[in-house]
């Protein structure tokens, strides 16, 4: 279904070209004054119209329909919408007949018997991350009240790599510093190289993938359930809701698979303040599905934007034959910078559900 969370739950709706997209958020504690500026800033980070991204200008100003009274939440579900404006007409019938490679067109056509909304990608559009970011910004606010901070940087685009978080030492200030950057990176050099690569790829009519590394600090130890509801289970499930994500790894992740235990194990030690910590953090803050109090650290793999200007092979579903397809319009040559706030958002949704909602 289109919901995530138990105590703090988001239900998402909308298609790229429907009247509106939006969501319903259940579980915001009554009496919360929403930080509208923080929400607007968060949403602006994923908005298009920035350098090197698709020129469609989205009017991503959410309208709150319910759940707020007298300037604060009232305990009722908070429904919100974002209008779909500036919709350009295309000949979408061509796409319906000739599925675009690496898009969901064909899978959706089979699933929905051809009734899927093909316009602008329909419900599969990256635009659906806007409601996720709106709800994620509220979740982040609730988490901030509990001293939990989430942040992410672009860890690679194509073969250009940024450095990595120091997983045992990353702090809230490090994470907050990233949120104002157009190409959030730990090194300025990487940021510049990312920009240069994306421009090249765009000029070549091509696209490129990348990775995002995300961290959450301040998460208390002891959160998460073993087995099917551990932090890794819940985050992974949520992260794959972001279009184009094809991989998730926690802590040392796939690198751990190459290591020996003696190189991988994180020794426990007494911290200067008398608390227990691990000297290194290859476990990414999670052991047995449960938080250890160390920073949560994970990475996601984001595939290249499927829409490219170069002509591609496909089929005509009506004529049952191979055809060539040229996709018109302009598209993000790299979705990574815009996916990044969505990664933070779903992380906030998952963590808020676990730690930011009182028992009743």
């Amino acid at each position: 279904m289109f919901s995530i969370g138990n105590k703090f739950r988001l239900t998402v709706f909308g298609q790229s070209h429907s009247a509106a997209i939006g969501g319903v958020i259940e579980g915001i504690p009554a009496g919360t004054v929403l930080d509208e500026d923080a929400i607007a800033r968060f949403m602006a980070r994923r908005a298009p119209g920035q350098a090197l991204t698709t020129p469609r200008r989205e009017n991503d100003r959410p309208q709150i329909l319910s759940g707020v009274a007298d300037g604060r939440t009232c305990g009722a579900p908070l429904a919100f919408t974002i209008e779909n404006t500036n919709i350009r007409s295309h000949d979408y019938e061509r796409i319906r007949d000739v599925p675009r490679p690496m898009h969901s067109d064909y899978a959706a056509a089979i699933k929905f018997g051809g009734a899927n909304d093909i316009r602008g990608g329909g419900q599969f559009s990256g635009r659906l991350t806007a409601p996720i970011c709106f709800a994620g910004a509220i979740a982040a606010q609730l988490l901030a009240d509990r001293q939990v901070t989430i942040g992410a940087h672009i860890s690679s685009i194509g073969s250009v790599e940024d450095s990595r978080f120091d997983p045992a030492g990353v702090c809230a200030a490090d994470l907050r510093a990233l949120s104002g950057m157009e190409f959030p990176a730990l090194s300025d050099e990487a940021g510049r190289a990312f920009r240069k690569l994306i421009a090249e790829v765009r000029d070549a009519g091509d696209s490129v993938g990348g990775t995002v590394e995300c961290a959450a600090v301040g998460v208390p130890a002891g959160i998460g359930d073993p087995m099917f509801s551990g932090i890794e289970n819940l985050l992974a499930r949520a992260l794959f809701a972001i279009p184009a994500i094809k991989g998730v790894e926690f802590g040392a992740g796939f690198e751990a698979a190459r290591l020996r235990g003696s190189d991988h194990n994180d020794p426990f030690e007494m911290a200067a303040d008398g608390s227990v910590r691990t000297r290194t953090n290859r476990h990414g803050g999670i052991l047995g599905g449960i938080t250890t109090g160390m920073p949560l650290v994970f990475r996601v793999a984001i595939k290249p934007t499927p829409s490219i200007a170069l002509e591609q092979d496909s089929v005509s579903l009506s004529e049952r034959r191979n055809v060539r397809l040229a996709i018109e319009g302009r598209h993000d040559p790299c979705i990574v910078p815009r996916a990044l706030p969505a990664v933070e958002a779903v992380t906030a949704l998952v963590l808020a559900d676990l730690i930011a909602i009182p028992a009743r």
Copy 2:
């Protein structure tokens, strides 16, 4: 919670040293004759007592308590238990005070206020994959009736790599051939190298991680929901229930993040039999969360066994000081071969829930 699935649901219970472990399976269609031999074979694949694995001999013979009458399922939940026998006494109080690096001991102590069952890892024990395999074997039987076959091989241990599945061409026979191997590998050479490496690591008192590549063929196109309930979301959530898994990638996965769209996109083409397929399968059989009819292909990263014979740094929780810890007993130097059937099992659980249970 400890359940997974909607129409076909497994609830798991037990600790390493409780009276029994087991599970409750809801949703098996009434009238199903369970293939007990197939179940026993499946479970034998994860059982210890094999070459190079921990010598504790588990009596993994499940006892069915309910859900079956006259030799077939009767529509009631199928509860089953596996007795915990051959339990050896240890000085577990030491572990309670000095958490083992990379184990869940510390996180669990915080979460459960010290009341967690520390014996043999308690509910975090890899032994809990036995009920998962039992249920997975039943799920696999239901899927086989729909011509869906699941199989996996060890794609790497440490830095030794097997070749990869041909993601566009892997077939049921390929997968079935793997299920009888002690070190399931596509190349005999890799299998031998795996065995050699594990023996070395064992002799060094160390452990080593690895990766498993899993495929499912015969899955029809159009399965899975967009957003939070796509195939990737559901499989990822389920896979992280297997202890030691730290990463999941679908199709080209993290490699996709390095590619350009023109190199990554899978062209559609008409197959010889008149059906639509993709020429390559870097999408791993899933687009937009929905199956395309191509083989599902994904890999998981498995960390090195945390228990090693080498002495390690830890802390005494009672004395609040750093101490050295030596873990006694013998342990699997590499959990990858035994995690492999569990990977297949959770894959079967997820797919059976989606495609093997009638609407009513």
Copy 3:
């Protein structure tokens, strides 16, 4: 939470005086052409502005925001809103301080720490049955395609009673005939007596309760799960979402508690068409939580409208003392006629979830 259903799910949002109320419906089969006239007729049945009901004229014209493309459902969640217009200003601060007897004011104030939306009853308003009726009308359409018909009549208001359905003989035509009536009753005499009683009660500044009897015919045998997910469990849970409902009984219900088994048991018999039926239907179409193929028949008890013109005792929460309270404005003297379509609607939601949605 504010959702109901698994495969066909409704999430409701809104308060009486928020910008809008509405809902999100998941699971409508893609390609469904909504019968807008039938939906409008259904919603008109619960709309105010009819004889003897509150004069606030609601503009209950729903706007569909998503989930429809090219005039048919597209497989995405169908979100819809109903604007809240014609909102009259009241001195709601008085109600916040002096809770109205038998309203949710006090309970909500405690639950939400005083942040609840008090205007017009907030999220507790009977107006929230409008989105339920919208979704219920769609569910009814899906059920009609499977020859399932739902209908209800007012079985009593105060001490005035209509006759009862013949539980073993009620048919679809009987049910459809009721849907056009302002006071749906089996006997014209009862309808006239209901109208007369409500007018008297209104003139006395008082209110009155009643019961609704609902039936569903055409439901196949074998639907529903034993234990916690039987038809009675699911219907009862759903029905209590309708404000003012305080009791539910299936088949002979509370009368069964007075009977001996020999008077209560329904004998099986072969029907003329060769099918198995029961001669009588005191079981209300459900045995062991599962449908028998006989008509589903149940009744709900609806309490008198809490808002009455007569002065009542209450307390001032701020002054911690007893006070007298006079509720201003005009209110429905009897909510039963408007609750009736909501009873049908939630019945349709529950049954559609169970029988109208294909497995995938």
Copy 4:
């Protein structure tokens, strides 16, 4: 499905004649020392072998398989079994062919395609209330720690009525006094009359229904969610899991439907201790789905035991013709006394889930 609850969840399994019945309880706070005596006393109340009940002696001693270590709960799911012993052989094939009136035999045969376990009623057996009572006893223990007490009495059998709880004044001591009685009744006279009536009915080869009134005191105000997850919704859903329950009413219930608002509304008043209460409690402690702090009071209708010695009409499913059926064996002439503790148990399960489990 066979589960109930979110944070405190019970999954039930078993059939009357399977190897065992039992359940899995998730969410018991780690470190809880179970009060085994209290559990045994609670379960003894529903056990057969008492005066006037069926002579099958159940060995209802539960065995705990997991979830406990060192004498206290450890945070893992608590699985338990109750062996099915003393099973007498019957000619169940006759029942499979000739469904017993008012039993689930026919509905189950259709649902499960004839594969249902017919022996002793299979999964529909009243015996399945044993695991519910076991879990309910644990829930009651958790609630007792929060000063919440649940109790019930037989409010009627056939046309013999006990008096009712004083809904505004019932206290914990009143409820505890009932738990030791064989026929829990507020008046001794009613208790004697119940016993006399049941003996008469038994001697006549017949059975009789009744009602149970249940109360919970000490429940704080502000518990429950509006709409689909109010206290009434959740309790009603749970209560219908008890075989033979056909109606539920809260507070004044069906009587409310006969009243005018001025007679039904409960005035608020300041209590002597400075708290807010209602002078009367026709609302049964729930308004808008949310608790008010007044006692929860509700009643359930229980149908006559379907199994009677008198010959009845049924059909032969194989021969497709009407036949006469005589049910052999001895059966409870009145299930009400044994259903009563199950009513308390499910009430405890629902309330514990809402108020007895910490946020993490």
